[in-house]
Point group: C2
Chain length 215, copies 2
């Protein structure tokens, strides 16, 4: 669903705050109500169950991500690829973002047993992989990337970025540059070898420092 | 701790079964007692809290893994690397192993807030990365691998394998060859380019089909 009303929008923002604060496993409707100006019974009027609310939250998150991607689809493939990789680089000490991804990780581990949650996880995986596949296909067509298998390359990149993020957020301070290291290694080992002489990739530093970058 | 007594051993095996059945977030001492021949009060006699029990379980798991690695440390580096990669390939439909790794994933997402659990996660990460670093260092010394940076390469490999496994177990049936695809891509994109002419790596098929392989 899209954000159908200001009320829904406000409720979904409360879900976001409550997830960061309490995680997924122990989240209650009351926790969500506490983060919004609405009462618990009003929440129930809009969303029957906590699961409905979380499903709406995930749908909204995926819709926004999809829209953001569409805005970028005419940029050069090299820039889009670098932007995609840079999005996974986690600044050390970004506790708010860390809390959000820890809650998502809980949802992923428990969602395997819940068809409606799993459908959204599958949609999210498809969205990530399709994004990379589109970038690679465009780049191959424009002659900036070598003709690799886009699907298999996307599976590799998405798995690597996901694994690096999971490790950084679950292992604590001494691993606070895990995503950065892994993205740099991916660039050197996997991306650079598939660039043609026509390719013109911004550096990871330029991409991370770009003030127009949508985080 | 090691497996100090037959009772401890039996209890830790019950933890293993209970985790696969119930996951981590909702696991109770009663669930564990139900999987063993011991009463809940006897469990409490051996382990004060559920957390103590889970910490002992993780320590035991890590000890066993460490011992298994030591047995392999004299094999050729190429074989050890392939064995390490193959260990992450998840057979489609291996529900028991899937349940175990989903429980671990829950523990990882919630363990970030628990110092004792996080210490074990950090130990596990070090163990995995050190294993790869040792293999790479031995291989570089023996002239079978190019002189890459062992630490950064290990960070890349471990993140990639972890991410592939997480995606396979959380995304359901249509992704049941995620780990296999990603390991094949890793071999082609990351491992093959660092092999010297001296290197003699078994194939992934040979490694997965090896009846002596320790799963």
């Amino acid at each position: 669903m899209g954000r159908e009303s200001a009320t829904d929008e406000e409720i979904l923002e409360a879900v976001d705050r409550a997830l960061r604060k309490h995680g997924y496993a122990k989240l209650t409707m009351q926790d969500i109500a506490d983060e919004s100006s609405k009462s618990k019974s009003l929440l129930h009027y809009h969303f029957d169950t906590k699961e409905d609310l979380l499903v709406a939250f995930l749908d909204d998150l995926l819709d926004s991500y999809e829209q953001r991607l569409e805005c970028r689809s005419t940029d050069p493939p090299g820039e889009r690829l670098m932007e995609f990789l840079a999005r996974f680089v986690f600044a050390p000490g970004d506790e708010d973002r860390e809390a959000f991804h820890l809650a998502l990780l809980e949802m992923r581990s428990q969602g395997a047993f819940n068809d409606r949650i799993r459908e959204r996880l599958v949609r999210s995986d498809r969205l990530l992989r399709t994004t990379v596949i589109d970038i690679l296909e465009d780049g191959i067509e424009e002659g900036v990337f070598e003709p690799v298998d886009p699907e298999r390359t996307a599976a590799l990149l998405v798995a690597t970025l996901d694994g690096a993020r999971t490790r950084q957020i679950t292992l604590g301070e001494e691993n606070d540059s895990y995503t950065r290291t892994v993205v740099e290694e991916l660039l050197e080992r996997v991306i650079e070898p598939i660039l043609t002489e026509e390719a013109d990739l911004p550096t990871i530093e330029e991409t991370l420092d770009d003030p127009d970058r949508q985080g």
